[in-house]
């Protein structure tokens, strides 16, 4: 056994390796993405790993592999679970031939998500076992446990982490990989099990219910659920990362630490509750444990003290516990705690210098039309200086929302923005729908050649994949045409005027149109040239270049006296020479290094 410092996500990847997993699928999404990336980079010789086009495809794929006798793992972020769930729910009825585990990484605190949904409910909805690791060691161990449970009880198993468990690092003892056969036999022709048509599914439903009863019994003897006796005046029931926080804040209390949080071990919970004066349930987000424990007739406190919003970090926990009289007031802070100086300059998120999305938002902000947005870096178009995005909900939503605006009879012309990976994920069905239902509006596909925001993963439009250096790729323009869109244009995103002409052309079309603004993500492209410069003698301080919202374009020290406005300068450490500012400057004041300043943009 060797010791390693692993993040929760790396530990889950390690767990997949040790558990003999052979197929791993998913769609990128913070905070889950590193699981598959680690599997591919460290264990790619033993585990097939792929980024599927979306979470549902990933789940169907894993189901097919598990039916075929391969242990399989699927990863998703919390909102991806909504996409995945349709596929998960049938596997609950079918069961599996080999272990099938779904990992959902939830995001309390919404560090990179549109909501704070608590995916533990999915276990209850689906009627499948739920494991919640508290640290990296458990993250690894629980994958091995989950594969075991999956095969023993013939069910998919859900593992739920949170951003903190997934991204924190801790010490992990690594073990060997379980032996799994290299080959699989013929596919099982068990229609009564694997065909979920009503006549057979009706017979499977009682199997699902009995399985839950058996699992609840098993939960009583599972070492994942353990009692740690301490001071009996307070008994804390908790799970996942909140266990680590609560251990810190209540060092002397009694704990029931639940590793499997559905179905619950009722006898263990009763024994624990009987052994303490007061039961307190501490859990981030929803009262998932609390409501089940209260339904057992146990008077447990929970959400009345610890709210459903945001993370329950140790400081928050301590303050709330003191407020509720669970801890003495000295448990909060240190008396002479230094305060952060007020009003420090913020570091505001912006599109990177050299980002291809900049030209589109430059025009959309000036054209002032309603824009339905989608999930990705381009969501930064909703922030200053652009303020050019007016809705954003979930993956692929922008096209459907645009269609809704169209059929609602909205008098303005409108645009939907969507990224390349998001288009493949769930934009395509919505676009076909626009065609078939005679919609109107421009779908602007911002193709930067990667799934950028989650760390530059592949998608069907890229010429590489998670497991292959060279992979077949699908051209977006060809797909769009094949979907029946008549008006399609592709423009160079770094040619600012071309983007404007493309937008005007598509907006003039009476029907659904698609504009593809193509340009490689700035993080993947090498700097094109050395930094550009502003010729201060030519600059009239009109502010046009500032409208690009580029972090490399800064205010200089020079002010034009007649207007009181500040001239522009370029930060050479940030500029990558994308050329957009030179193109928009009306007086030719911006130049590439070595170029003359008099040439106006041609």
């Amino acid at each position: 056994m060797t010791k390693a410092l692993l993040s929760g996500n790396e530990a889950i990847a390690r767990g997949a390796y040790e558990a003999g997993v052979q197929v791993a699928t998913g769609y990128p999404g913070t905070p889950s993405s590193e699981i598959l990336e680690t599997i591919a980079s460290r264990y790619g010789d033993r585990i097939y790993a792929e980024w599927s086009t979306n979470e549902k495809v990933a789940m169907d794929t894993a189901a097919g592999a598990a039916y075929s006798g391969r242990r399989a793992l699927v990863t998703t972020k919390q909102v991806g679970m909504n996409v995945l769930s349709d596929a998960l729910l049938y596997t609950v009825y079918t069961g599996v031939e080999a272990g099938l585990v779904v990992v959902t990484a939830d995001d309390p605190g919404m560090f990179s998500s549109q909501n704070e949904q608590d995916n533990r409910w999915y276990a209850r909805l689906a009627k499948i076992p739920l494991l919640e690791p508290a640290d990296s060691q458990e993250a690894k161990d629980f994958v091995v446990q989950a594969i075991g449970l999956s095969e023993r009880f013939d069910t998919p198993v859900l593992i739920r982490t949170t951003m903190r468990t997934s991204h924190s690092k801790g010490v992990v003892l690594e073990g060997p990989r379980q032996d799994v056969p290299d080959e699989v036999g013929p596919f099982p022709r068990r229609q009564e099990k694997y065909v979920c048509t009503a006549m057979w599914a009706k017979k499977r439903h009682p199997v699902v219910e009995q399985r839950l009863v058996d699992l609840a019994k098993h939960a009583e003897e599972l070492p994942l659920n353990r009692i740690e006796w301490g001071d009996r005046s307070i008994g804390i029931i908790t799970s996942g990362i909140t266990y680590a926080y609560a251990r810190e804040v209540f060092p002397g209390a009694s704990f029931l630490k639940l590793g499997m949080t559905f179905p619950l071990p009722h006898e263990t919970i009763r024994a624990f509750a009987d052994g303490v004066d007061r039961v307190v349930v501490i859990e981030e987000l929803d009262p998932f444990l609390e409501e089940q424990i209260q339904a057992m007739g146990i008077p447990a406190a929970g959400k009345e003290i610890f709210p459903s919003c945001d993370e329950l970090l140790p400081d928050t926990l301590a303050e709330l516990a003191v407020g509720a009289g669970l801890l003495p007031s000295k448990a909060v802070g240190s008396p002479s705690r230094p305060e952060v100086p007020a009003e420090l300059p913020p570091r505001i998120p912006v599109l990177c210098a050299g980002c291809p999305h900049r030209s589109s938002y430059y025009w959309l902000s000036q054209m002032k039309m309603p824009v339905a947005g989608d999930i990705g870096c381009y969501n930064l178009g909703c922030l200053p200086p652009f303020n050019a995005q007016h809705t954003m909900g979930c993956m692929g939503a922008s096209i459907g929302v645009l269609h809704g605006m169209s059929i609602a009879g909205m008098p303005e012309r409108a645009v939907a923005t969507i990224g390349d990976s998001t288009f493949f994920h769930s934009g395509m069905p919505a676009l076909v729908n626009m065609v078939h239902n005679r919609s109107r509006g421009v779908v602007l596909i911002m193709d930067n050649g990667t799934t950028a925001m989650t760390g530059h993963q592949d998608h069907p439009g890229t010429s590489w994949s998670l497991h292959e250096r060279e992979a077949p790729h699908v051209e977006i323009e060809a797909v769009v045409r094949a979907l029946g869109v008549e008006k399609v244009r592709t423009v160079d995103a770094f040619d600012v005027q071309q983007v404007k002409e493309g937008l005007d052309d598509c907006l003039a079309f009476d029907g659904p149109s698609v504009l593809i603004a193509k340009g490689l993500c700035a993080q993947l492209s090498k700097p094109k040239t050395a930094a550009y410069e502003v010729n201060a003698d030519v600059c009239i301080a009109c502010g046009t270049c500032f409208k690009l919202g580029c972090p490399a374009i800064v205010k200089s020290n020079e002010v034009v006296e007649s207007t009181g406005r500040t001239k522009a300068a370029i930060d050479p450490t940030q500029c990558v020479g994308c050329d957009m500012c030179r193109q928009v400057c009306p007086v030719g004041a911006i130049r590439a290094p070595g170029a003359g300043s008099e040439e106006a943009d041609g």
Binding site: K169, P345, M453
Partner: protein
């Protein structure tokens, strides 16, 4: 076994995540239980990044409570200012003196604190403050990107951990082509506080 809680404060792109990985692993190899957690701002690049690293007999929470950090390793002065609220009074700060000016300042909407303001704030919080010009040292030895390893080298002189553990962990986590540069960076950094010229 003494518990030690560290804060690494910096800006995306400065290599703070690698530094916090290294610090946590050094703790593990020195025989501690170790955990770390990074708090990233919204920005992919250029945002504030705070990493908590903990060494101890047994570490539960990867997140440290406010006012309890023993040491802050600040890669950037403004981020050091932001981090002081997490420090325990009398702790130690090692601060790189080179600013990374945020867009809110370059756009003219905000003012970057003066050097004297920064020094006064840090001195009012900590028992000991080391101001080191790690960025200039990094550029001097060949690459601004090794600023993080210079900072770790400087800071390593303050801890009672065998230098060979430090060098092993640092060098195992950098690409082969950069091993010599990083060794040099670590030793340069160490000499900034140690006063023992890269021994």
């Amino acid at each position: 076994m003494k518990r030690l809680d560290f804060l690494i404060a910096g800006v995306g792109g400065q290599g703070t995540l690698l530094a916090s990985d290294i610090l946590a692993e050094v703790g593990m190899r020195a025989g501690y239980d170790a955990k770390k957690s990074d708090v990233l701002g919204l920005a992919i690049r250029g945002g504030s990044v705070l990493s908590h690293v903990r060494w101890g007999e047994r570490v539960d929470s990867p997140v440290v409570r406010k006012g309890r950090m023993d040491v802050m390793l600040a890669f950037e002065p403004l981020e050091a200012m932001r981090g002081v609220g997490l420090m325990r009074p009398g702790g130690t700060i090692v601060c790189n003196t080179q600013p990374v000016v945020p867009i809110s300042v370059t756009s003219g909407d905000a003012t970057y604190p003066s050097r004297s303001e920064i020094e006064a704030t840090l001195a009012a919080t900590a028992g000991t403050v080391y101001h080191v010009d790690a960025t200039s040292e990094a550029i001097r030895i060949g690459n601004a990107k090794v600023t993080n390893v210079i900072m770790l080298g400087a800071f390593s002189a303050l801890l009672d951990v065998d230098r060979t553990i430090w060098e092993h962990v640092v060098l195992s986590r950098v690409p082969d082509a950069y091993v010599d540069l990083n060794r040099s960076a670590f030793r340069t950094g160490r000499s900034l506080i140690d006063g023992e010229d890269g021994r």
